[in-house]
Symmetry: C2
Subunit: 435 residues, 2 copies
């Protein structure tokens, strides 16, 4: 049986999981693939600390470049993360004719073009299944199983930390700060949680999904990204009363020759399957012209689930190599650049949930209705709500407006005008809404 | 660009969908695959009726054998269904060195060994993604993305007709017969609905899933298969009061060196994501040792979703052929025959829901408790229920027992003894239960 050598760069949580998976399931894997996948090298700066994996002697090294150069290594698995040396090592590996597996969503979202084009030019594979959805085979399914579909839309819960926090806010009526602290204590959130809770991790993944589905570059900095840091438990509670759960949602929609991409805290109706995705789990709902609605659900992070996908990617490359020449186009290509473009954030349409603390004076309720109408924002329902216990404020009434489909820029204009008119206290809360 | 020719046998609903998909998305498909997939021939006995697809001249024929023999056709797509000519044509195609795509679950469940072994011997591909889950890429994910995982269990809602009927029974409190008639009127159920409602369609799919995950033959006639034909709206209502939804569930569990496979109406707790899978949708929850829980959700039947998967399979073969020699092992192999075996139905364990119409006499309630205990069936909870309006019966009390994990044969023995003891009226209702 043909042997394929693997070198892992980065012996952290996921690296240890991949090493464990390759060593433990080697036989099963060989049976299913017809190729023997051998773990040859693992490079890390720290090769002393115990990672709970019994690595054969001679495998550990501190020299990443030597792993890349090793003639017995055909596949380089980059699990260092970040956009520094990780990028350098990936480009070196490609230049050395090695195939690459990475889970580095930030790097691919920010430097995808450079990396994918280098891989295509060198004729090597680059697989990145674990960059989106961790253990969920969403990248594979989009690339292969749905290859005959035109993708109409994707909606994703792509960050387990946020979904864990939101699930607890919904279930316990707790405040964001309180749950975040608890999540940090339990290891579900980083000490520096910004990348997760401000939506950027989700945005990186949305960028990769949209690029893959539509073959265009999608700059995460060119789309609207809102996180959950400022989400109030008041809105979580009001959403619940209206029959919705708040989720941090990546939304990708094809509209004519444009692709709308954005990340927002979103009210998801409780009849929608995405509302039932709780805790650290992730899910992506995909609408294909042939497949109709599909949903993929699973653990979006963590050692074993991420390792599972990385190992699956290694298997794909091993299969390609053993096949003697057949190469599946694993790199994202930008074939539709020029014909399809990313929609300007202001042009993106959605239904909205808007909470206004309306100054309790005669006529105020009528006036904001007029302003919305003048700005082309059509109101589906407006209703005043009771204060939550302990959150009473004198002189205002909480009013929740749900709009029909409206343009983001129109909603922004309406909110600006309402604030200027002095009929609300503070800044209105604007969230998205799907049914 | 290399061209690969496709011949479709069977121009029914799905056949027309596949033809449409190949013709409509030919360009997208070529871009993503790097191969031009050309629809060369479609064989059907009736080539006159309009299927709503603009087929180029010369493509339609009544001669299936000529399509198989056509040197310009490398891929035969069998969409005739059934176990008669479909089997013959598939074996002829394999013998002629053609690659095969089929959605024929019954044929694969019943004659899988013969077909898979013929394909392996001839060195051709046989893909069957649409045989389980229609538009859901579950077969592909199991075979490829999860190749590095040991599968611990699978739970599937695999029949859209049953799930549609059950969803309406739950929501409307309606009787089975009534909803079935309506489903037939609306086209969601066949005129002869036996294959669906008696659980056999689900059993065929469970057999294929288990064979693929564990590399052993699984005879659908060697497992316990129960459908929903006799499901009472009383039990659907009681389940609802206990916080459960009734689903027709295929369950596959690895237990040591055995694989437990069965199909049963099952109470699924409302916290479980499978309970939120409603209407004609299907879903499969898979537990892998690395991936943890994954769920795949989508349309399990229908022209376009099924066609989507068939087209994806065609793409895989086209890719293999264009690669010039690389062949992924698409056929199921029985490598674990002898080391792993299918568990005897009586040995399969589960939690159970049991409804007994207990004769209202002193001591009866205590006696069935004793009988369960003597048969090793441990009761988690027993409670008497109110009659549903209009369903009152004199002289009995409806009692619902929920058991801890128990052996099927022990439960059967207990029920037999309870019936013999004359402390219940009629036959107790026994359903499975998962939390």
């Amino acid at each position: 049986m043909k042997q394929i050598g693997v070198g892992i760069l980065g012996f952290g949580t996921v690296g240890a999981g991949v090493a464990d998976g390759l060593l433990r399931n080697r036989e099963t894997f060989a049976k299913r693939l017809g190729v023997d996948v051998a773990l040859r090298k693992i490079a890390d700066l720290d090769i002393v600390r115990d990672r709970g994996v019994a690595v054969p002697e001679g495998v550990l090294t501190t020299d990443a470049m030597a792993v890349i150069a090793d003639p017995e290594v055909q596949i380089i698995v980059e699990l260092i993360g970040g956009t520094g040396v990780a990028k350098q090592f990936i480009l070196e590996a490609i230049a050395a004719g090695k195939n690459v597996v990475t889970a580095n969503k930030k790097l691919l979202a920010e430097s995808g073009r450079e990396i994918f084009e280098a891989a295509a030019k060198a004729g090597v594979d680059i697989y990145f299944g674990a960059a989106v959805g961790g253990g969920i085979p969403i990248i594979r399914s989009l690339r292969e199983g749905l290859a005959g579909n035109e993708i109409g839309s994707m909606k994703g819960i792509l960050n387990g930390t946020c979904n864990y926090i939101l699930t607890r806010m919904i279930r316990e009526g707790a405040a964001f700060d309180e749950v975040l602290k608890d999540a940090q204590r339990l290891g579900y959130a980083e000490a520096d949680p910004g990348l997760d809770i401000d939506g950027w991790d989700t945005a990186h993944k949305a960028s990769i999904l949209a690029s893959l589905a539509y073959s265009i570059p999608v700059d995460p900095h060119g789309i609207e990204v809102k996180g959950i840091r400022n989400l109030s438990s008041v809105d979580v509670a009001y959403a619940g009363k209206l029959g919705y759960s708040v989720k941090l949602l990546a939304q990708i929609d094809r509209v004519g020759n444009e692709v709308a991409v954005g990340v927002h805290p979103t009210l998801v109706h409780n009849r929608h399957l995405l509302s039932a995705v709780n805790g650290v789990f992730n899910a992506v709902m995909v609408h294909g012209d042939l497949s109709d609605d599909l949903m993929f659900y699973g653990k979006g992070a963590g050692r074993a689930p991420t390792a599972s996908t990385v190992v699956g990617d290694i298997g794909d490359i091993a299969r390609n190599l053993a096949g003697g020449g057949a190469r599946y186009k694993s790199a994202i290509r930008y074939d539709n650049e020029g014909t399809l473009s990313v929609m300007k954030p202001g042009d993106v349409t959605s239904k909205f949930y808007i909470r206004l603390m309306v100054v309790d004076q005669c006529g105020a309720l009528g006036r904001f209705g007029t302003i919305f109408g003048n700005c082309n924002v059509s109101i589906e329902q407006a209703s005043s709500h009771e204060f939550l216990p302990g959150r009473e404020e004198a002189g205002v009434i909480p009013v929740v407006v749900r709009t029909h489909e409206a343009k983001t820029s129109d909603v922004e204009a309406a909110i600006k005008e309402i604030e200027a008119a002095g009929i609300v206290r503070g800044t209105p809360v604007v969230l998205r809404l799907i049914k």
